[in-house]
Each structure stands twice: as C-alpha cells, then as structure tokens.
C-alpha cells in the first residue's frame, strides 16, 4: 500500500514532464497508474470482505515511535476504490477538458497530488500520517480551486476553502493527539477496540468537539457549508472529483472511522443528527434556488454530506448500512453529473439551465450518461439511487424516538434532491433550443466515457445489487460497526413503509420540478439563500477583514517604528511576567554565606552608583563621559580587590580607550537635547527601576543558594596539568575555550572593519555634512571597493 500511495505522489511530481511528451493523450497515459492502483485495491476485496483487515507497517521516525502504517478494512477499501476508480476517469476526462490550457501539465500534477493525499488519508492507520494527508487534501484543493488564479473570485474561493478546512484540521490535530493520550496508541486500528475507555474518559467531550470540528469543516456541515459551493470555482474535473470521491468525503470518512471510538453516546447522536439533518434539508432546498448546473450540484453535495452525517449519527446497523450505500450511490452519480456539466459547459459555453436546452441530438452520449446519473440522483427505480433512498428510509424508521424527525427531514430533502436532479438531467437536453452562441458538438470520447461508465454502474448496481452488497458494502458496514453485518440489497421489498415514504418523496419532488420555474425565483427561496447561503459566506469574508484590521491595528500599536517603545514593551512585559512570578513563587531571602563589607569597598560601590546616576541626570555630554569613566575605573578597582587582576587590567585599558574615542566623537556632535514629557520620563523610570529591582532580587535569590563550582574547579585542576598554564583565566580563554576566543576576535575584527568603512565615509563627507543618502551610498560602494 505504501507503494500504491507513493507512486501517485511520484507521478504527480513528474506529470508536467510526461504531459510535455504525450500532449493530448496525457489523460489516457496518466490514467494508467490510478487504474493499476485501482486494480490492486480491487484484488483486496476478497480477503477484506472475508473479515480480515490488512495492516502494513513501515518504520518512519523510529526515534519518535512514529510508524507509517496502513490499514485496509472494508471502510478504507470502499473509499480507496472510489478515489482511484473515479480518479482514473477524472484524469482521462481532464485530458479532454483541460486540453489546450497553457498549464496543462501543472494541472495534472496538482490533481494527482490531490488523489495521492486522499488515498493516503483513507488507508492511513497512524494518526499523524492521517493528519498530514488530511491537511494535504486541503492544500491540494486550495491549489485546484484557485487554479484559474488570474481571477480574484477564484482566489477568494480557494482561500475560503483553505482557511475553513485547514482551520478545522488544526482542531482535528488537537483532537487526535488527545485521543492518543487517552488510548495510548497512535494507530486507528488499535483505537477501534478502545471505544469504551474513550467514552468514559473525562476528555471525551473535548475530543468529540475537536474531531467534529475537523469533520464538519471538511464535509461542509452547517455553519461551515458555505465554502463548498464557492469551491466550484475550480476547473470542472476538480469539482467532479472533489464532490464525488475526495476532500468533502474526508470528513464523513473521519466520522465513520472514529464512530466505533466516539460514537454511541447521546452527544454523538444528537449533535450529528441535528447538524446533519439541518444541513441536509437546508442545502437540498438551497440547490433549487440556482440555475448554474455546477451550483445546483454543489448544494446537493452538501445535502448528501448532511445525510451521511445524520446517518452516522443515528449509528444503528441499518443507518450505517444506508450511509455506506449512499456513499457509493452519490460518488457514482455526482462524479458523472459534474463531468456532464463540464462537457455541456465546454461545448456550449454556458452552465445556466435557463439558457440551455435541446442538446439531446447534438450530444447524445453525454445526454445518456447525464440522464442516467440524474435518475439515480433522483432516486428513481431501477437505479442504484433508489436503493440508497430506500435504505435511508428504512434506517430512519428503525432509529427509535428520533426516527420521525430523521424520516421527515429525509423525505423533505430527497424530494428537493429529486427536483434538482431532474433540473440538471433534463433541462439541458430536452425542450427547445437553448440560447448559446457556440454551436455544440458531442464531446470527445475522453469526456463522455467517464460519466458513461459511472452512470452505467449506477444502473448495474441498481439492477444487480449483489455486485456490491455482499462484498464491499458489507465489509465497509462491518468495519464501521466493528462487527460483521450481513445484508442483501434489492429494488423490491414489497409494499412497506420505506416504499410509501418513497412515493411521498416522488409526489413532492415531481411537483417541485414542475413548479421549478416558479419556485426558483420566489421570494422564499431568495430569503433562504440570502440568510443561509450568502450571509455565512459574507460573514466569513467580513471576519477575515476584521482580523486583518485587528492585526494592522496591533502592528501599529506594538511596532510603531520607535525603538524606545519597543524596549519599553519588552521591559514592561519582563517586569510584569517575571516580577509577578517572583512575587508568587519565590521565598526571597537575604543571602547568608557572604563576605562582609569593608569601608573602602562600600565607598567604591557608592562611587559606581553615584557615577551612573550623574550620567543619567546630566545634560552636559562631557560630564556624562567623566561620570562614565569614573564608574568604569571604580569597577576595575573592585575587580582588583576581589582577585581578578586580569579583569582590572582589561577594564582600565578599555575604559581609557573608550574615553578617548568618546571625546573625539562627541566633539563633533551637538549637546544632549530632545527631551520628552515628564509623564513618559516617569513611566520609563518606573519600568527601568522595576527591571533593576527584579535583577537584584534574582541575584539575591541565586546568592542564597549554594554555588556549584564543579566546572571552575575542573578547569582550575587541569589548567597546569593539561595546559601547562599558571594563570587559570588565561588558560580558559586561550586553551579550553580557544575556539570561542577566536570567534570573539572575529567579532572585533568585523566591528573594526565597520568602523573603518564608516570613518572613511565621514572623512570624504566632511565638506558636505548634509549630503543626500544617494551620494553616501556611492561613497559606501567606493569605500568597499577600496577595502
């Protein structure tokens, strides 16, 4: 499985180069690999359906106990087949659809990246690997949605998708890590058996909320539903893939994967059912508001995601079965219909249902595939969609006290779905000639093959459900339920409650379709769209804007370009944080084991303090220098008194040099002026005093603990025996820490070089002190050349 996943990523990397060679055949060539991977996974149906999940473990980061492990049970297999199977058809389709685009190769690269990420996601066992693939799908979809990036609307749609799903991904990461804390394992396959532990754990609610955030954002559940209809800004092959088999199904997959671990509680039941049902009904009806084929399809995808969330929330065997059936049903018809919409758009130049019509003779193959898929979407017999709807109603009826809510919501949503399906499947092909400028032809074979195959499968699975029920669907259901579950699917169950519900659905749905021209522009639909469709999207954009404004405001406040304000901020933070922690935690003691104070030492200390205070107070630059040097010499004397003659000598030398340089420079500078208000001086003084007090407090605290002289004694004892030096300080500098000292010399040399360059510029500038910056730059360049 590692190779199956990796090979797709490798192909993604080389796809642009292949595309350069294969030109218009690229789709067919690149489709071979996903087809091979599909075949590989198809071979696993037998073993997996027998109830033995396959697990493969590869070492990844052994030092962190991370493994790159894959787990293939019925659920992963169902998704893996969809990802690679539909992926193959999409790649072929894209070969025709994107033909002639100047970034043909790049498109395939991104599409394959998307495929690899989604495949990795569904077969990953390790939660970290899962998370990486999860975020990679967000990233890849960001690139693909914004593929036509010259248009700002597309960039905006891409950003919306990235921020919503990426943000949810971060919540998911936190949830998964908490799950790891509770279960002690990073592998899904091991977590599955630990559901009771997790549900009883105090972290359960937190884990649940975080994981649900990840799933709801990814699968566009209300109130995060707005990003998905916007995502149709991407090229149509992307929409087809994103809606049918990848990305949006990742959230549903996550819910299904973790339902043995997190499911079965009231929290799970009510949250998923209420959000799922609401999303389902809302978006099914919102779909009727639109006339753009892709927009209608996008809202019906949100509807199906709501349905799946609701069914997984119900969590009974029948509900899980219905969810698995519907995943397959939806993937088949939605992939086909998006591709059909793309072909129609490609040939006519429009996707607006009101402008389309009468294409049945020009585009017979496209029509056949599209119509068949639309009938499956409508849930009409004998297509697979009918079975999907029946098992949903069956699940609703067996859902206990909430069953009636689930049933009513499902009927309402499915009726609108039926109407939408007929609008999408019939309007473009029948009726009078549409109003489009281009003369339509049948799409090339690469573009009707995919929808044709998917639509035919929708018919075949409806007529012969045994093709899938006993094998893959049963295995998937069993994997979610964590116990084997046998079922048969059939078109005809006799006259029972689900059938009656279906008939009601048909009645409402057909009525809606007939009245669609009146329903679509009605005031009610406009209000619904305004409140639930446009408003959340606008609120999101507004939120982004306000966040940018907030950060702009913060930036201006915190980084106003004035160094002393930065310093003030840093120091105040230091005072508040360190000061409060000192006050709260430390038991400050006066150090006991210290030397006494002799009067001349006290006098030196007094001189140092006095000199510093004079330097602070004075406005006379030469008095400041004088005070500085007196303080410096006093410190040198202290060094001398306390056994540090080397320091004293250095300090004397440096102090003398400093004075000379200071005097030279200051002679050329004006006096100290430019005062600020008393208030800010007081404020600065308070903060500075606070810092000083904290440093003294820390120092006193350190002094009241015993000193560990291990390193000093070690160096002292080796100073002569190993380095043959009597002066320990010197030995440390030039022997033990010689490399360090060399670095210091380097620093000094660089400073000296800098000073040299600056001085040269000054000499040349002396005649024109107000020279412009430009001419200075010239001088600088010359100086560098000279140097």
């Amino acid at each position: 499985m590692l190779w199956a996943v990796l090979s797709i990523f490798v192909l993604a990397a080389v796809a642009p180069f292949i595309a350069r060679v294969t030109k218009q055949a690229t789709g067919w060539v690149l489709g071979l690999l996903p087809l091979a991977v599909f075949a590989y996974f198809a071979q696993q149906i037998g073993p997996v359906a027998d109830g033995t999940p396959i697990r493969q473990v590869h070492a990844w980061v052994p030092s962190l106990d991370l493994t790159l492990s894959f787990y293939l049970d019925g659920l992963s297999l169902l998704f893996a087949l969809l990802v690679t199977g539909i992926g193959t058809l999409i790649v072929v389709y894209a070969g025709g659809y994107m033909h002639g685009h100047d970034q043909y190769g790049r498109f395939f690269s991104q599409l394959l990246l998307f495929m690899g990420a989604m495949l990795g996601l569904v077969v990953a066992d390790n939660i970290i690997a899962f998370f990486i693939f999860f975020e990679l799908t967000s990233f890849a979809s960001y690139l693909l949605i914004g593929f036509y990036h010259t248009d700002e609307d597309n960039r905006q749609a891409a950003r919306k998708a990235l921020v919503v799903t990426g943000g949810g991904g971060l919540a998911l990461l936190a949830g998964l890590l908490l799950l790891q804390q509770v279960t002690g394992t990073m592998e899904f396959s091991e977590m599955l058996a630990l559901g009771d532990t997790v549900r009883a754990h105090p972290y359960y609610t937190g884990i649940f909320v975080l994981v649900i955030l990840g799933a709801f954002t990814k699968s566009a559940q209300f109130p995060f539903h707005f990003w998905l209809p916007a995502a149709m800004a991407g090229p149509t092959p992307v929409s087809a893939y994103l809606h049918s088999a990848t990305m949006v199904k990742a959230g549903v997959f996550l819910l299904a994967r973790l339902s043995p671990v997190l499911g079965g509680t009231d929290l799970w039941l009510y949250t998923l059912v209420s959000f799922g049902a609401f999303t389902m009904v809302l978006s099914a009806w919102l779909g009727l508001r639109y006339t753009d084929l892709k927009q209608i399809l996008a809202y019906t995808t949100v509807m199906v995601l709501g349905l799946l969330t609701m069914l997984l929330g119900v969590g009974t065997s029948a509900a899980v079965k219905a969810a698995m059936v519907f995943i397959l049903v939806h993937a088949l018809y939605k992939g086909a219909l998006f591709m059909m919409a793309g072909s129609v758009d490609h040939e006519t130049g429009t996707r607006d249902v009101l402008e389309l019509g009468g294409l049945r003779s020009e585009m017979p193959y496209t029509m056949a595939g599209g119509l068949l898929a639309a009938l499956s979407m409508a849930g009409l017999p004998p297509l697979f969609g009918f079975i999907g709807k029946e098992v949903t109603y069956e699940a609703a009826l067996g859902a206990g006290p909430i069953g009636i809510v689930v049933l009513v919501a499902s009927v309402l949503a499915n009726a609108a779905l039926l109407a939408g399906a007929l609008v999408v499947g019939i309007k473009p092909f029948f009726g009078g000639e549409g109003s489009f400028t281009r003369h339509p032809h049948e799409a090339p074979v690469s573009m009707w093959l995919g929808p044709g195959i998917l639509a035919t499968l929708g018919l075949a699975f409806g007529l012969v459900p045994s093709l899938v029920d006993q094998t893959i669907l049963q295995a998937a259901t069993g994997a979610v339920l964590q116990s084997p579950y046998e079922f048969y699917l059939a078109l005809w169950h006799g006259i029972n409650a689900p059938l009656i519900a279906s008939l009601v659905t048909f009645a409402i749905g057909f009525a809606l379709y007939v009245q669609w021209a009146r329903v679509q522009p009605s005031g009610f639909m406009q209000a619904l769209d305004g409140f639930f469709g446009r408003r959340p999207a606008a609120a999101f954009e507004r939120g982004l804007f306000e966040m940018a404004r907030l950060s702009q405001w913060t930036t201006r406040r915190v980084q106003d370009g004035t160094f002393r304000h930065y310093l003030l901020t840093v120091l105040s933070t230091f005072v508040v944080l360190v000061g409060s922690s000192l006050l709260l935690q430390t038991n400050i003691q006066w150090p006991t084991e210290v030397l006494g104070v002799r009067y001349y030492e006290a006098a030196l200390a007094g001189i140092i303090v006095l000199a510093a205070l004079v330097a602070v107070r004075t406005h006379e630059r030469f008095i400041a220098i004088l005070a500085l040097s007196i303080g410096g010499y006093a410190i040198a004397l202290l060094y001398l008194l306390f056994g540090a003659p080397d320091l004293a000598m250095t300090q004397f030398t440096i102090e003398t040099l400093s004075i000379i340089i200071l005097v030279i420079v200051l002679l050329n500078l004006p006096g100290i002026s430019g005062q600020v208000s008393l208030a800010s001086r007081v404020r600065d003084a308070v903060v500075a005093t606070g810092v000083g007090a904290i440093i003294t407090t820390i120092a006193l605290t350190v002094l009241s603990t015993p000193l560990d002289r291990y390193v000093s004694d070690y160096l002292a004892s080796r100073s002569y025996t190993e380095a043959r030096g009597h002066n320990i300080v010197n030995v440390i500098l030039v022997d033990f820490r010689a490399l360090d000292t060399m670095g210091e010399i380097g620093v000094l040399a660089m400073a000296a070089l800098g000073v040299y360059v600056l001085m040269r510029m000054m000499r040349q500038n002396r005649d024109t002190p107000e020279a412009s910056i430009e001419s200075d730059d010239k001088v600088l360049t010359e100086a560098e050349e000279t140097a």
């Binding site: 700002e152 954009e541 804007f545 966040m547 404004r549 702009q552 370009g561 002393r564 310093l567 120091l571 150090p591 006494g596 104070v597 002799r598 140092i608 510093a612 330097a615 602070v616 630059r621 400041a624 500085l628 202290l638 306390f642 056994g643 540090a644 080397d646 320091l647 250095t650 440096i654 200071l662 420079v665 050329n668 004006p670 100290i672 430019g674 005062q675 600020v676 600065d684 003084a685 903060v687 500075a688 000083g692 440093i695 120092a699 002094l703 000093s712 160096l715 002292a716 100073s719 025996t721 009597h726 320990i728 300080v729 500098l733 360090d740 000292t741 800098g754 600056l758 000054m762 910056i773």
Partner: protein, 130 residues
C-alpha cells in the same frame, strides 16, 4: 559584599535601561556602556567573591592554593569587556555617521524605513483582497 554588589548592578541596569529609552541617541550609547558594566558586575558577583586571591597557580605547584577566586566568570567577563568595547565603538560611529546624514540625534525622527500602511486592506469594500 555580594548582596551589596547585587544591589549596585541592579541600579546600574535600571540606569542603563532608562537611558536607552531616551530619544537622544547619545544617551542611548551611554546607556549601552553602563549596560555592559552592569552585566559584567552581575556575572562577577554570581561567581561569588574572594578577596586578594587571584586564580593563579604558584610556580612549582600543579593546583591553585585554596581559597582562590572563581576563574570561570572572570574568563567570561574578560571577553565581554572587549566585545562591549567593540559594540560601543561601532554604535558610536554609527550614531555619528547617522548625524552627518540626517543632522539630528533624535531617534524619533529616524523613521524613513517605516512603511505608512503595514497592510493592504480595502477599507471601502470591507474585505481582504485575495
């Protein structure tokens, strides 16, 4: 004595930070010098004080005679003194150079490199450009 020097270095830190928060660049440089001294004094004190006994091994001996001053802080401070001298000179020349160009020592007027608008936000449409 250690406690006294801890207080002294605290005062030096306070003075240096106060000076570094002034508008005049010269006072900033003075603050920088005091900061170096304050830090050195603090390190010196933290290594504990020993009167009159430098860390030197007498001729003929292999080990220093107890008690001897802690050599480690001294080694650190020795380089620190030299480095802070390098810093001082460089800062001073920079200030001077800047004065020749701008004719001012007022830090608040040196904002040529600051952008007026840190972010490009469409205030009229109230949305962030993509």
């Amino acid at each position: 004595m250690e406690a006294l020097l801890a207080i002294v270095s605290g005062i030096l830190f306070a003075c240096s930070f106060y000076l570094m928060m002034r508008r005049n660049l010269l006072r900033f440089v003075i603050g920088l010098i005091i900061l170096g001294n304050a830090a050195n004094l603090l390190i010196f004190t933290m290594g504990r004080l020993t009167r009159d006994h430098p860390p030197v091994i007498p001729y003929g001996a292999e080990l220093p005679i107890e008690p001897y001053a802690n050599p480690l802080p001294q080694a650190l401070i020795l380089t620190a003194i030299v480095i802070s001298f390098g810093l001082l000179v460089f800062a001073l020349v920079l200030v001077f150079r800047n004065y020749l160009t701008t004719n001012t020592l007022d830090a608040d007027t040196l904002d040529a490199a600051e952008p007026d608008e840190p972010l490009d936000v469409h205030t009229e449409t109230r949305r962030l450009p993509a």
